[in-house]
């Protein structure tokens, strides 16, 4: 047993001493290790501290590669990798069956409450609930009166947060009934744990999670208002949502499309998804957007996360939303106080699973008690609102306590208080050792035919420090897998239920056009960034070359930096610091606010990748992670200025971008998404090359300077070696132009790129039968022809003004044509409707 290992080799020992918390998961009242923990602790003991540390590192790496993040409100996108403690929480099967029965009973009761509150309101008429409790609650949405979904249960998904009560039994501290989060994280935790502790996991006989998700899929399919083969989507608030990873993960796992409000539209009384090939009817919406944000027509009018007109479609029964709009009313913590009476009223007996003791300030007796005992209590608002959190009164100064008193006395019906028992503890791996940490378990139930199915286990969260009694992800809590131990080995079940009608359609119509647009821009931004970095690298090499750079060449190169990156005025300004270029160059690389600069392009690209997260493979996530890391460390690399080989700072970024483009070529399904990403790349690379050629090759220089510039262009466009091998001569403009513009075998030539673009456009167009060419097709054909008809010798000629007029004209025309093509593609395929606006601007707040 781990706790009895001798301390001969301190590094190896993995001890979990009995903590002095009132309840610990491992130790029984008499101090003995509970039976069901022994096998795991032995296993961890033999793994040792080093072993466990290694497994945790592995777990974090997998999570990061999976793109598992939890967005912190104050930090950027993809800001924090999801934290997983390698020590799971164990629950034996006997206790679990008691908890499970309690959870089912509770979900059934809340379902009855939901039906009653948006129906006859017997609970108010029969004085089980004070009218104020419901009528003052912002979760009670009058517009949702009478909305009904198919099937007996109105509450489809129910999540419950539980801690150990004083008697050691689980007690509920809160219900989540709108769009409960966490089931996807639980699944990800399980998948990681079964990989990093495979034998421990296998031999522990852990109940599988897949049955729960099978039930969820079955339930979703059964909700269809419009016949068989329903289209189910997951509605997410978007990449800035804290649990966005989970939305993408569940969408992929369940096989549903992930959409944002703007991807859906209401037409002819139904909900439709906007995809590239038109509108597709949506039958069921599994929502992760809170109630009030779902429809600006009838709910919060300032919401941009919802779908205008959605509620009416739900009311008409033409779409099913799970959980139904309005179900947030059940999250009011004041209901916890009344649940025993409600259970008595509906079921005739109390609930098996108790709730934590809760006082509602709207009740005069409760108010007296709370005011007299405030320093022992937590005060919570009855509706979750941004900017208002639970207050742990024990931590407050007398002045702060008075402030809380004033606030709750001013508006008592909107507050509850709860006991602040420290939650029970469980062992948590903290760098070097196993330490006791406050532990909260979130469990999940889904309506399944006439009963509820409960996920065996759930998502366990533990506080990040001993002092912390609050377990909140925003405050840095970490998570655990939850193992419900079976008494016999678990049979492996396939997740996909064969009895369900299979639903397949070609991939194109499952993608909202927003995702495709983001992939298009992902391609464009990464090419822009790459072109800028390639040029910048060449400039660094030239500036630091042993032979002094002729002034004319230097000026031309620096101006090209400004022109290619469009970071005007930069080096094209009258008084540009051409002899002291360092600051301006660093600014173009590092300054996020300089649109067109390297950091700005890379960040735009990373944002596009967040928006299309569900489309990207684990390998791609890994590359994107590298890119983010490299971008973050760029300022450090360049902190000491441009003195020593600054081009090396950009090398890893260029390599990573190439890895990314290799991945799209090698492993991305050739669907709409891939095609648009590719078109974005081809368009942008052509535009970048054209800009480079115009900047560097149109002005006429002295012969030797000219050679150096041609060499720079060849170097930047990666054909210098080919040039030398093929021509065996000094860099000459006409040969250079042949290679860069015309050569069909050079994958960076204009011809090659534009021809690929043409092929993509023709593929897309082949779906339409009209013989009339589209605008983008016409523009690209013309550009391609212009390239093909070019005679390098002629273009290399200059006029008297010191400018290569013919070359400039030709390149400018190609640029214009490609810009026309880009706009035409965007107009044809993407959604450009301006946002909705309110007919009447009332300006009053929606929240009473």
């Amino acid at each position: 047993m781990a706790t009895q290992l001798s301390a001969d080799t301190p590094e190896m020992v993995l001890n979990y001493p009995r903590p002095d918390t009132f309840y610990d998961e491992v130790y029984g009242a008499n101090g003995d290790t509970r039976q069901h923990w022994r096998y795991l602790l032995d296993g961890l003991g033999s793994l040792g501290a080093d072993g466990l540390r290694e497994r945790q590192r592995k777990a974090q790496r997998i999570l990061r590669d999976d793109g598992a993040t939890y967005n912190i409100a104050t930090a950027g996108l993809g800001s924090r990798t999801w934290g997983l403690d390698p020590v799971p929480l164990l629950i034996d099967s006997e206790e679990w069956s008691r908890i499970e029965a309690g959870l089912i009973e509770r979900a059934e009761l809340l379902d009855l409450v939901l039906k009653d509150l948006y129906g006859p309101r017997e609970l108010i008429r029969h004085r089980v609930l004070p009218p104020e409790l419901i009528y003052s609650n912002q979760g009670f949405l009058r517009a949702c009166q009478g909305v009904q979904i198919p099937g007996e249960k109105q509450l489809v998904l129910h999540a419950v947060d539980m801690v150990r009560g004083t008697d050691g039994n689980m007690v509920v501290i809160g219900d989540r009934t709108q769009a409960p989060s966490g089931a996807g994280y639980a699944l990800e935790n399980r998948s990681v744990m079964s990989r990093v502790l495979p034998s421990l996991f296998r031999d522990s006989q852990v109940h599988r999670l897949s049955l729960f998700f099978q039930a969820l899929r079955r339930k979703m399919a059964s909700l269809s208002p419009n016949g068989d083969s329903p289209r189910v989507v997951i509605l997410t608030p978007g990449a800035y949502s804290e649990t966005y990873f989970e939305h993408t993960y569940l969408a992929n796992y369940l096989g549903y499309s992930l959409v944002q409000g703007g991807d859906l539209t209401v037409r002819n009384g139904y909900v439709w998804m906007k995809s590239l090939d038109g509108l597709h009817r949506v039958d069921i919406i599994l929502r992760r957007v809170d109630d009030t944000w779902c429809d600006p027509v009838e709910l919060r009018s300032d919401s941009h996360l919802g779908v205008p007109g959605l509620l009416e479609v739900a009311r008409a029964g033409n779409v099913v939303i799970a959980n139904p709009l309005g179900s947030g009313v059940l999250e009011n913590p004041a209901l916890l106080k009344f649940l025993p009476q409600i259970a008595e009223f509906f079921l005739g007996h109390d609930l098996a699973l108790q709730s934590t003791q809760t006082w509602w300030l709207g009740d005069p007796d409760d108010r007296d008690y709370v005011l007299a005992n405030l320093n022992k209590l937590i005060v919570k608002p009855t509706t979750r609102r941004s900017g208002e959190h639970s207050v742990y009164c024990a931590d407050l100064t007398p002045e702060e306590l008075d402030e809380v008193k004033r606030r709750i006395c001013d508006d008592p019906i909107h507050y509850v208080a709860q006991q602040t028992n420290l939650p029970g503890s469980s062992p948590s791996w903290q760098q070097q050792e196993l330490l006791p940490r406050a532990t909260v378990l979130r469990s999940f139930a889904v309506a399944d035919q006439s009963a509820y199915s409960v996920m065996p286990g759930g998502l366990t969260r533990v506080a990040s420090s001993t002092e912390q009694a609050i377990v909140s992800n925003q405050l840095g809590a970490t998570s655990k897998d939850t193992w419900v131990l079976a008494s016999e080995p678990q049979r492996r079940v396939s997740f996909f239920d064969e009895r369900q009608p299979s639903y397949r359609e070609d991939q194109t119509s499952d993608l909202p056009s927003r995702v495709v647009e983001n992939l298009f821009w992902l391609g464009r931004y990464s090419e822009r960034a790459e072109a800028a970095m390639r040029l910048m690298r060449t400039v660094f090499i030239q500036l630091n070359s042993p032979a002094p750079l002729p002034e004319a060449v230097r000026d031309l190169l620096l101006k090209a930096v400004t022109q290619v990156t469009t970071t005007y005025p930069g080096f094209t300004a009258e008084d540009a610091p051409l002899d002291q270029p360092e600051n301006e160059l660093l600014s173009v690389i590092l300054e996020p606010s300089r649109a067109g600069g390297i950091t700005s392009n890379l960040q735009a690209m990373l944002n596009c990748s967040e928006e299309t997260k569900e489309m990207l493979s684990a390998d791609t996530h890994r590359v994107i992670n590298d890119l983010r890391d490299e971008l973050e460390s760029l300022p450090q690399f360049l902190g000491s200025g441009l003195a020593a080989a600054p081009e090396e700072a950009l090398d890893p970024l260029v390599t990573t971008l190439l890895a990314l483009s290799g991945l799209t070529q090698e492993s991305m399904i050739r669907g709409f998404g891939w095609r648009f990403l590719e078109m974005g790349r081809r368009l942008e690379r052509t535009l970048q090359s054209t800009a480079l050629l115009r900047s560097l090759l149109v002005p006429v220089l002295d012969d030797s300077d000219q050679e150096q510039v041609v060499e720079t262009v060849l170097l930047t466009t990666e054909v210098l070696i080919t040039y030398r091998r093929r021509y065996r001569t000094r860099p000459m403009l006409n040969h250079g132009l042949t290679l860069i513009m015309l050569d069909k075998t050079n994958p960076r030539s204009l011809h090659y790129q534009i021809d690929l673009l043409r092929q993509h456009i023709e593929q897309l167009q082949s779906r339409e039968r009209s013989p009339v060419l589209s605008d983008e097709h016409r523009s690209v054909l013309e550009a391609l022809t212009l390239v093909q008809l070019s005679r390098p010798d002629e273009l290399a000629n200059s006029d008297d003004e010191g400018v290569r007029e013919a070359l400039d004209e030709r390149l400018a025309r190609i640029q214009t044509l490609l810009c026309t093509a880009a706009n035409a593609i965007s107009d044809r395929y993407f959604d450009h409707r301006s946002g909705p606006q309110q007919l009447v601007q009332t300006g009053w707040s929606e929240e009473p």
Binding site: R121, I124, R125, R127, P131, E132, Y135, S136, R142, A143, Q145, T265, V266, R267, N268, G269, P296, V297, E298, S301, P308, G309, E312, R315, A316, I413, R833, S834, G835, P836, Q837, Q838, L839, V840, Q841, T842, G843, W844, S845, E846, E847, P848
Partner: protein, 295 residues
């Protein structure tokens, strides 16, 4: 008395609206003093989707959406309504005292009172505060009959506030109305409701129409009527009673109800979302109330 009411709403947009979703509270409901005999609603351009529904407070509303581009939206509602003479001309000086009414509001267990407690609470457009309480208090001596006190409050608002359509919009906060002593019927109804709620009584908002009579010897002008608003207070065990602070009277035959709610927000004549349409729009409303027959 039977009235024919024609209520036309016209929006003109700067640029075409491509898509709109609206919820209109323009169809009069039945109440214990009126019966709606018929309603026709005509919308141009023709909606692709429309439905009549009952809301949370049993008002009727019309939900519609238009998908063809339009620069002009017209909603033309014509209703025939029979208004009944109030059966008993209630006596303001009998019934619950203020203290008794307040006490029963919390203590009574009949369903009507339990459900009326919703209207004691703050609502999105009506928040109680100290200034409103202070303004209301002088009329509500504990021993005074509630209805007489409410009648006095109605008169005070009528006398102390100036009717000024230029002063307020639908977004003007109640405190500004109170401070400047100006507003329109909707503001006065909101103010009275806030006063009553701040004292612990239940009060609700009533939207509707008022038949106006031309000065003696003159012809009534077409479109000269307007939509109107007043309020109702609840006295436990006795029911709801209406008052009109804009005209200092008790709504009777000439007041025709459209809808009831916590405040204007619950019964906004037309709310909704439009796509495109530019930044400017003009709104034109015309209402005609004509009596068509003696009942």
């Amino acid at each position: 008395m039977i009235y024919r009411i024609r209520h036309v709403t016209r929006y003109e947009y700067e640029t075409p609206v491509s898509l709109c979703y609206n919820r209109a509270h323009l169809l009069p409901r039945d109440t214990n003093r009126q019966q709606c005999l018929s309603t026709q609603i005509r919308i141009t351009p023709t909606p692709v989707y429309s439905v009549r529904r009952e809301d949370f407070y049993s008002n009727l509303f019309y939900y519609f959406s238009i998908q063809e581009p339009h620069r002009r939206l017209e909603i033309d509602v014509t209703s025939q309504i029979r208004v009944l003479q109030p059966t008993l001309n209630f006596d303001l000086d009998i019934g619950n005292s203020c203290a008794r009414a307040r006490e029963l509001m919390q203590a009574a267990v009949d369903e009507e009172t339990l459900l009326a407690r919703e209207f004691c609470l703050d609502s999105p457009m009506i928040r109680r505060n100290q200034a409103i309480y202070d303004y209301a208090l002088p009329s509500f001596d504990d021993e005074r009959p509630l209805l007489s006190a409410v009648r006095e409050l109605t008169s005070r608002i009528y006398q102390e506030f100036k009717y000024d359509p230029g002063f307020s919009t639908v977004a003007t906060p109640l405190n500004e109305v109170l401070e400047h002593r100006r507003g329109v019927c909707q503001d006065f109804a909101h103010l009275a409701i806030a006063c009553l709620r701040s004292l612990g009584f239940a009060a609700r908002y009533v939207s509707g129409y008022l038949e106006t009579l031309p000065p003696p010897g003159q012809q009534k002008l077409v479109g000269s009527d307007a939509s109107h608003a007043w309020f109702a207070v609840y006295s436990p065990g006795e029911g709801w009673f209406e008052f009109d602070p804009t005209n200092d009277n008790i709504p009777a035959e000439q007041h025709i109800t459209t809808a009831l709610g916590r405040d204007y927000g619950d019964v906004t004549p037309l709310r909704g979302v439009i796509f495109d349409g530019g930044s400017a729009q003009t709104l034109e409303v015309s209402v005609d109330v004509t009596s068509v027959a003696e009942s």
